[in-house]
């Protein structure tokens, strides 16, 4: 399979993730969208790794997955804390941190 297919798929996934972050009004959904974007990138790494015949792409994917797991844990903890303070998951409710 040519590399182009993988890249198109990962590009599509990335755009879906980005659209989710920008358009959805729910913090949990936004976090999920971020995960989708990360996995789109992972796909690219693995695809290039296979194309170039090296394991570097897979190694870095493991790093990304580790970070993603940590990020998910911290992100969900923040979401819970935010929900407790405002009884809402809409990001527009949390705009008090400005000048």
């Amino acid at each position: 399979m040519p590399i182009g297919h993988y890249l198109v798929l990962s590009g599509l996934l990335f755009c879906i993730g980005a659209a989710g972050v920008f358009l959805r009004r729910n913090l949990i959904t936004m976090l999920l969208s971020v995960e989708i974007m990360l996995n789109a990138v992972n796909l690219t790494f693995v695809a290039f790794g296979r194309q170039l015949g090296s394991v570097d792409g897979q190694i870095i994917t493991f790093f990304v997955m580790t970070v993603a797991a940590a990020e998910a844990a911290v992100g969900l903890a923040l979401v819970i804390a935010l929900f407790r303070s405002r009884e809402s998951l809409n990001p527009e409710a949390f705009t008090s941190l400005k000048w």
Binding site: A18, V21, F22, P91, E92, F94, T95, K98, W99
Partner: protein, 674 residues
């Protein structure tokens, strides 16, 4: 050992400045005085050791460490004792000790912290003055030069709560700065030309240069700048205006700083760089003319002043003029001789006036004195000796030194300057005895109603003579008597040639030559030993001039007695004549009383324009508009831009994410389509 002489007063300063508040008065004052006496003893021992060295190499040097070393510029913190600085350290530590002792009594009414502050300043002054005279290069001298200026400021403004005192202190400091600026320029020019600031090195280099008779050369420039510095410190035209005002300080300070030592620094400086001055005849004539003019001007003002200390202040300015006249005609020895005798009798006169003021509880106006002779016998007799000495009555110290100046001036062919000096001599005798008569003779005019002490002792206001009138207490009397003895006998080390040997002049001459007179000449034999002496280059006195010297001496004796007689006639016998004269020549009288309106002229031509330029130009114009404008403008600019920028920070996490995304895409796009 040499370094110990200035360091002892400095130690006293440190103790009194740091712990003085907690020390009892007799400890702080006693310590300060004791250290000065020890410094005097060490100085005397050092001079004794110096005298044992043969005249050709008569120097004691001590280098503490290299102070500045940058490229070919190297300055050591070094002291040098030679014939000239020997005279100066003896005067500074000797008169200084006496004035410290006098002050312990004079200042005893101050509170303990004020008392300690006074002695701390006084010790600091002595430290800087000794640094000035012992420094072996211009820079060390300059440190002392600035330091004595600082102490002068601090002590004039000692009663800082008094507006006039703090004004006078500022005036003294600022006027001195004008001179100091020229001094710095002179030192820089000296370094640029000679690549050295050491006095001996410079003098040797200058000696090899031709005398600048033809035109205005580098030596003339250096010496003229340094002389302007001297006019500031030593109160000569045009920078003399600060000295009369400096009398706001405590009287012992006037005696020590503004009569005996600091104000003579300019004369000393010329003596120190005598070789340079000798090679710059233009500067020499300027020095002589300024000196004579100052002597006359100050003498005429002194004739009509009514404040006892102001009369003495103008007298100091006038006598300093004499010293500069001597320096200017090339009679360096005579100038230093007068400096040395003047230190005795002028310190004595000031301390005597201090005793009078002390007795009258602060009264300084001689119109409210009179008849004090029988109340203050010690003060009277010592003051009289001082007045006789300054008037130039034969056999007292002032006669010898003043006469030598007059003689040398005449001998060098400056007949006009001699005339001016002779007239000034008459004025000196007259105003000094006007002071003596108005203060000590005649009817008593210090009745309670006039004296400011009236609030102090209202119960005495009905009696004519206040009961409180007491003569100088023991420490003050001691200082007065020692100085009076000095005023009588100090002159005998500089006897005129007609009478014998001028020991002082021979002692000093090597110091005015570049190092030690090139080839010593055998001039006499004593006990089979050849005595080698430097033949002073300028020594013109010989058998041929004895007649001239004697006749000039007769003239100055006549002048002295004429002045005293005139004063006695006008202010004792015919008290009505001065008043009538003042009325008849009201314009002249007012002119003199107002000191030729010099202060007013300076105020109008220098102070006011500077004030206007500072206020309108520098303050309202430059500072408010340009400096504040730039600072405030920067602030307004930042706050204006931030109004726009803060719109970006709206707290919405989605906006931030979007802008990050757009930014990332933009950067990527840039690299892709570059």
């Amino acid at each position: 050992m040499l370094a110990l002489i200035p360091l002892l007063p400095f130690a006293g300063f440190l103790v009194n400045a740091t712990m003085g508040k907690r020390l009892p008065k007799n400890v702080s004052g006693g310590l300060a005085s004791l250290l000065m006496v020890i410094a005097f003893v060490i100085a005397a021992a050092q001079v004794w050791a110096l005298a044992a060295i043969p005249a050709e190499s008569r120097q004691i040097n001590q280098t503490l460490y290299t102070w500045i070393s940058a490229g070919n510029f190297s300055v050591d913190l070094a002291f040098r004792l030679d014939a000239l600085s020997a005279v100066m350290i003896l005067v500074v530590t000797g008169v200084g000790s006496l004035i410290h002792i006098y002050s312990t009594s004079y200042m005893h009414e101050e509170t303990a912290p004020e008392f300690a502050r006074y002695f701390a300043y006084l010790n600091l002054f002595c430290f800087f003055m000794l640094l000035l005279v012992l420094g072996s290069n211009v820079l060390v001298m300059f440190v002392g030069w600035e330091g004595v200026g600082l102490c002068s400021y601090l002590l004039i403004g000692f009663y800082y709560a008094k507006k006039s005192a703090s004004d006078a202190a500022k005036k003294a400091f600022i006027v001195n700065r004008v001179g100091d600026f020229a001094f710095i320029l002179g030192a820089l020019a000296m370094f640029m030309h000679f690549h050295s600031l050491d006095f001996t090195t410079v003098a040797l280099a200058a000696k090899a240069m031709p005398i600048e008779t033809a035109g205005f050369g580098i030596l003339s420039l250096i010496t003229l700048l340094m002389f302007i510095g001297a006019t500031g410190k030593s109160a000569q035209i045009p920078l003399y205006v600060w000295l009369p005002d400096a009398m706001e300080g405590p009287t012992p300070v006037s005696a020590l700083i503004h009569a005996a030592t600091m104000v003579t620094a300019g004369v000393y400086m010329i003596g120190r760089t005598a070789v340079l001055f000798e090679h710059a005849p233009i500067t020499m004539s300027v020095v002589a003319v300024i000196g004579a003019a100052t002597a006359l001007l100050a003498g005429t003002i002194g004739l009509v002043q009514n404040d006892i200390k102001r009369v003495l202040a103008y007298s100091t300015v006038s006598q300093l003029g004499y010293m500069f006249l001597a320096m200017g005609v090339g009679a360096f020895g005579a100038g230093i001789f007068h400096l040395y005798t003047h230190a005795f009798f002028k310190a004595l006169l000031f301390l005597g006036s201090g005793a009078v003021i002390h007795a009258l509880h602060g009264q300084q106006d001689i119109r409210h004195m009179g008849g004090l002779k029988k109340h203050l016998p010690i003060t009277y007799w010592t003051f009289l000796i001082g007045a006789l000495a300054i008037a130039g009555v034969p056999l007292l110290s002032g006669f010898f030194s003043k006469d030598e100046i007059l003689y040398e001036t005449f001998l060098h062919g400056h007949y006009l300057l001699w005339g001016v000096a002779a007239v000034t001599s008459l004025l000196t005798a007259t105003y000094m005895f006007r002071l003596v008569h108005l203060t000590f003779h005649g009817e008593e005019r210090f009745a309670g109603a006039h004296a400011p002490a009236s609030t102090h002792a209202p119960e005495h206001s009905s009696t004519h003579a206040p009961v409180h009138l007491h003569d100088a207490p023991a420490p003050m009397a001691f200082a007065l008597i020692v100085l009076a003895a000095g005023s009588i006998f100090a002159g005998y080390i500089g006897l005129p040639h007609a009478f014998g040997h001028n020991v002082l002049n021979e002692w000093l001459q090597p110091a005015f030559q570049a190092t030690n007179c090139g080839a010593p000449v055998v001039t006499g034999e004593l006990a089979g030993l050849a005595i080698e002496e430097c033949l002073p280059g300028e020594e013109l006195g010989g058998e041929a001039h004895t007649g001239l010297e004697l006749s000039l001496m007769g003239v100055s004796t006549l002048i002295a007695f004429a002045g005293i007689g005139l004063a006695t006639f006008l202010w004792v016998k015919r008290r009505d004549i001065p008043a009538r004269l003042a009325q008849q020549y009201a314009g002249v009288h007012r002119l003199l009383l107002n000191k030729y309106y010099v202060d007013e002229v300076y105020d109008a031509t220098i102070v006011q324009p500077i004030k206007v330029v500072s206020e309108e130009g520098l303050w309202r114009g430059f500072d408010v508009k340009v400096v504040d404008g730039a600072v405030n403008g920067a602030g307004y600019f930042v706050s204006g831009v931030s109004i726009l920028l803060r719109l970006l920070q709206n707290g919405s996490v989605k906006t931030y994410a979007a802008s990050t995304f757009v930014g990332a895409v933009a950067i990527l796009a840039y690299y892709l389509w570059r």
